[in-house]
């Protein structure tokens, strides 16, 4: 307040007179007593800087008057993300869920409320007690009426990091105490590869440490990024990222060695390296790889000894490659016809791959497509033919773009975290896989539409359960799931939807009961720094008090468990700091056994708040070096112990959409496909300025929106044909949906492709109406909702063809954000 104002108050003020006036007014019954109490509020949070962490990295939060006012990256971060300031924005956003809320019709009529009004109906505030009583009543009702398979608790999403307030584990911990539930397996990032790779390499591969960057910098001669944009996507990590890939990327750039980016878009990575840009038609990568493989074979550039010693099944694959089995030799010319690349370029790639120490670093876009299993499998076959797997800087890698795969590993301990059950309950019959049933998670809409229908998955066949209730926490399926309009309709099959989150996501708006959770910055937690490097253990200290009535996930679920009569089983008698101390002490014990120095918990928590570990042997790690050195003593986890170019296990499954060796098959739709209706492929890359949909509601959005909407990259020729100019609002549409976006006309994307990054907040002009025009640009209004194949049933978030036109109708306002209306 102004100085003059303060002086006025001081001069004329009598406290007694002040309060007595208010009391007199209270005599009118309906005029509530004064909101305010006598006595100044005590400050609960100290001013100063608090070190904490996030999916974007570790940072210091500056606190003044109990308010979070600034963000500074942790000084140990070699490449802080430019998205950090958006975190503070999200915490203080007017879109925070502030109180427990219940959909009005649901409060009145319970589960008989019309599900069709979900998403448009009003919400009403209730007390925490009312809300939790209602949640428990529904959990019990559904369990009693429909049995354990009536509740879907396969909640997925990028919950916040932290070993204790892991909301998804906590929710399933509560669900396990309640009884049964339907769980989900897999994720939306690597659905296809994480299922096929264990058959091929014996590991998930997508979440494994890569040959480390110092080795790549010293040894790799040709670095190929195949559908990967590591400069963009390494900003984020599932735990607290160390950003250890960036010094490696920089050192490689400084070495001046060759980089090739194979991508429909000239990515930031491509620009950073000044790389050679190769742009095949999207979804034709298997054909390109086969063309390269055929060239290697025809020109005898492949490593026969490696194939003999380290792989099985090349003999069964070869007749397919040469066309002996199907009459179609997979020549470079054949591949050129499908991919649109020049046949000579394909041959040239083969020769250069063979001539150099080549690292084939692939992203996950390739496998988030129909028939996605084939892509990385074929990449492995290619790498096997090149024979460099296990050599320093050679082979292939499926995580150079994610969470700084290849960041050298430290010698530190592993920090445990809260579990979803197990030893928590004495005498309980824990299932080995939590849950009454499990579905591949991207099939959730298919499950809702087809209860009782058989589905195939990785050699098993099961029936979809009939679920009537879901509890979603730490995720936003109305962002990450495909074919939004199909989903909006299927969502009506739920009788009861509970969503627990910190902000009004699209999913929260399609819920019946909405519970406000704290953000990471309103509670204490602990986490590791570096998904692959495990470089440090970080105290994620509370920055500010919880806003409004937000509560910690742990406390919410503990209260639900209490209502179920399972309070002790849930909490094990431990509160927040007891758990954090226990996790730390478990790590400390490992450290002591390994003779690694680590302070005791109190010193760690009260002093630095971070303990860093040394990188020693981690600096020279070469993936599969052990296997290469001795394939008999260090076999792979596959049935043969070798790389499986041909999988007998997959052969036994007999799937028409996933044969026993990598195969080119036409995806359901693609650019230039034989039965494809629309002329443009929609590239739905991971965002540069968001984590999927996270931070879309913050100031970071100013960095990228065009005409206030998600940008749509379109090639100069495609734009000219359609009369589209840079900055125009365009409508991108197909039979599944339609979105508005802001045109960016550029030669940085190949003709025939447009790019709308995934994660734009769903903003239907007519909520709940099938086919509603999305005003901001949610790419998943356009994508295909089907399994990659019967093998993995992964999502196809990169499979979408559409057309684009300049939008000339009445422009619907973007309503989804918190931009002040007077701005």
């Amino acid at each position: 307040m102004s100085t003059s104002h303060r002086q006025h108050l001081r001069a004329g003020y009598s406290r007694r007179a002040f309060l007595e006036g208010a009391v007199a007014a209270g005599a009118f019954g309906l005029i509530a007593p004064s909101l305010l109490a006598r006595g100044a509020a005590a400050a609960t949070m100290k001013d100063g800087e608090v070190l904490t962490g996030s999916h974007w990295g570790a940072f210091k939060a500056k606190v003044e008057d109990g308010k979070w006012v600034a963000v500074t990256p942790w000084e140990g971060d070699p490449h802080p993300s430019h998205q950090l300031p958006g975190i503070m924005d999200s915490v203080y956003s007017p879109t925070r869920i502030r109180y427990p809320m219940v959909r009005k019709a649901f409060l009145k009529d319970g589960p008989k409320a019309d599900p069709a009004t979900r998403g448009t109906d009003d919400f009403v505030r209730v007390t925490w007690d009312q809300a939790l009583d209602l949640v428990v009543k529904e959990l019990k009702r559904v369990e009693e009426t429909y049995g354990p398979a009536g509740t879907f608790a396969g909640s997925y999403g990028w919950k916040s990091p932290g070993k204790l307030h892991n909301c998804q584990n906590l929710m399933r911990r509560m669900m396990n105490l309640k009884g049964g539930f339907v769980n989900s397996s897999g994720d939306y990032s690597t659905g296809a590869s994480q299922i096929v790779m264990p058959h091929v390499m014996g590991t998930l591969e997508v979440y494994e440490q890569q040959t480390v960057w110092p080795v790549v910098v010293d040894n790799t001669e040709l670095l190929v990024f195949w559908g990967a944009d590591p400069m963009t996507t390494n900003q984020i990590g599932w735990v607290v990222p160390d950003h250890g890939a960036y010094p490696g990327l920089k050192a490689f750039k400084e070495s001046g060695k060759k980089v090739i980016c194979i991508d429909p878009v000239r990515t930031d990575t491509c620009d950073y390296f000044g790389a050679e840009w190769v742009a095949p038609k999207p979804q034709t990568d298997v054909a390109v790889m086969l063309g390269v493989a055929h060239t290697l074979y025809a020109e005898k550039l492949y490593d026969e000894a490696f194939l003999n010693d380290y792989t099985v099944g090349f003999d069964k694959f070869l007749p397919y490659l040469t066309g002996q089995t199907d009459g179609t030799p997979k020549t470079a010319e054949w591949a050129a016809g499908i991919s649109g690349l020049d046949a000579n370029l394909i041959k040239d790639l083969a020769r250069r791959f063979a001539k150099n120490r080549t690292m084939l670093a692939s992203g996950w876009s390739l496998q988030r497509q129909h028939l996605g299993e084939q892509r990385h499998w074929m990449l492995v076959v290619l790498a096997s033919m090149l024979g460099q797997i296990g050599l320093p800087g050679g082979g292939f890698g499926l995580s150079y773009h994610y969470a700084s795969g290849g960041s050298p590993g430290a010698n530190g301990p592993v920090l445990p975290g809260i579990t979803d059950g197990g030893k928590a309950v004495e005498g309980a019959a824990w299932l080995t896989e939590s849950g009454a049933a499990t579905i591949p998670l991207a099939r959730v809409v298919d499950m809702l539409e087809n209860p009782g229908k058989d589905f195939d998955f990785n050699g098993t066949r099961a029936k979809y359960p009939e679920v009537k209730m879901t509890y979603w926490v730490g995720g936003n399926p109305f962002a990450h799931h495909q074919d939004r309009n199909r989903m909006v309709k299927a969502w009506q099959k739920f009788e009861t939807v509970v969503v627990q989150d910190f902000q009004w996501t699209a999913t929260a708006r399609f819920a019946d009961i909405v519970l406000p959770a704290t953000t990471s910055y309103e509670r204490n937690d602990i986490e590791q720094v570096g998904d692959y490097s495990l470089r440090a253990i970080l105290a994620m200290k509370k920055v500010i008090d919880p806003v409004f009535e937000a509560r910690n996930d742990f406390d919410i679920f503990a209260d639900i468990a209490k209502r179920l009569g399972k309070a002790d089983a849930f909490t094990e008698g431990k509160a927040e700091m007891d758990w954090i101390r226990e996790f730390y002490d478990a790590a400390l014990k490992q450290a002591q056994a390994k003779n690694i120095e680590m302070p005791d918990f109190d010193t760690f928590w009260n002093e630095k708040g971070i303990v860093e570990f040394d990188v020693t042997a981690g600096n020279s790690f070469v993936r599969y070096a052990d296997f290469r050195a001795d394939p008999l003593l260090e076999p792979l986890g596959t049935p043969s112990g070798k790389i499986e170019i041909y999988s007998k296990n997959i052969e036994k499954m007999g799937y028409d959409d996933c044969p026993a060796h990598p195969t080119w098959m036409e995806p359901v739709e693609r650019l230039g496909g034989p039965t494809t209706k629309y002329p443009l492929h929609v590239v739905t890359s991971h965002p540069k300025d968001r984590l999927h949909s996270q931070l879309c509601g913050t100031k970071i959005r100013d960095l990228y929106t065009v005409a206030g909407r998600e940008p749509c990259l379109i090639n100069t020729q495609d734009a000219a044909k359609r009369g589209i100019k840079d900055g125009d609002v365009v409508r991108v549409f197909n039979d599944r949906g339609q979105i508005l976006a802001g045109a960016v006309v550029t030669d940085g994307i190949m003709p025939g492709a447009v790019r709308v990054r995934e994660g734009g907040w769903y903003d239907p002009a007519d909520p709940g109406k099938p086919g509603a025009l999305d005003a901001f640009g949610d790419a998943n209004c356009l994508t295909v909702d089907m399994g990659t194949s019967k093998l993995a049933q992964g999502n196809c978030g990169h499979t979408a063809v559409a057309d684009v036109e300049k939008f000339t109708g009445d422009l619907p306002k973007v309503k989804v954000f918190d931009t002040p209306t007077n701005a």
């Binding site: 006025h8 004329g12 309906l30 509020a41 502030r98 009403v124 505030r125 954000f817």
Partner: protein
């Protein structure tokens, strides 16, 4: 001049009544109370003693006249309240915080909140634990005005002038900076019109009050 003193009780009543309406949803019991004779008398009195409130009072009375049961009307109005004030409808709403209107990006808990916290601290007041709103919530600001206005009738002397000046200052700094935008948003986004009319009435009343304080 001195004509402000006789109005003091009515002003306090008006500020407190409005604060209560914006602080929380009306309960079914309160709706029953307003529908009873005493409640109707209170509304008439408010409209008579503070004419700027007449529009807001009439909108509320119109809603009360409908044959909706108390519980149902409470639910309907609670839905309106949540959409406008509790963040459900994102920004198709009227966030009841100075910060939402005065900070660069419409965030909460910004400078305006801290300034109101200073005001409360200066007056040795605090927000009790059961009201989980920041200090720049409109209900808190209206309550502070009620308390400033209710310090009693001091007649024409330098102290009275100072009291008027401090109230005028408070309105200028903490309320009139954002109230017009808030009232506009309420009117624009409220479907039933009760809260929209009440916000407009709040704006009208405070504009009048500010003029009187300057007189």
């Amino acid at each position: 001049m001195t004509h402000i003193a006789p109005l003091a009780d009515a002003r306090v009543r008006a500020y407190r009544w409005l604060a209560g309406l914006f602080a929380r949803e009306l309960t079914a019991r309160e709706i029953g109370g307003y529908r009873a004779v005493q409640g109707q008398a209170l509304l008439m009195d408010l409209a008579r003693s503070t004419p700027a409130l007449a529009g807001g009072v009439e909108a509320l009375r119109a809603a009360l006249r409908a044959e909706t049961p108390d519980t149902e009307l409470a639910l309907d109005l609670a839905g309106d309240y949540a959409r406008l004030f509790l963040g459900v409808a994102r920004r198709q709403a009227a966030p009841p915080f100075a910060s939402a209107y005065l900070s660069e990006r419409g965030l909460l808990f910004q400078e305006a909140t801290r300034r109101m916290e200073n005001v409360l601290r200066y007056h040795d007041l605090s927000i009790p634990d059961d009201f989980k709103e920041p200090a720049d919530h409109i209900a808190v600001e209206l309550t502070v005005m009620a308390e400033l206005a209710g310090r009693g009738a001091v007649t024409d002397n330098p102290a009275a002038r100072r009291l008027r000046a401090e109230q005028a200052d408070f309105l200028d700094i903490h309320l009139l900076t954002w109230l017009p935008d808030f009232a506009r948003d309420c009117a624009q986004f409220d479907s039933r019109g009760v809260y929209g009319a009440l916000a407009t009435a709040t704006h009208d009343f405070i504009t009048d009050d500010r003029t009187r304080l300057a007189a």
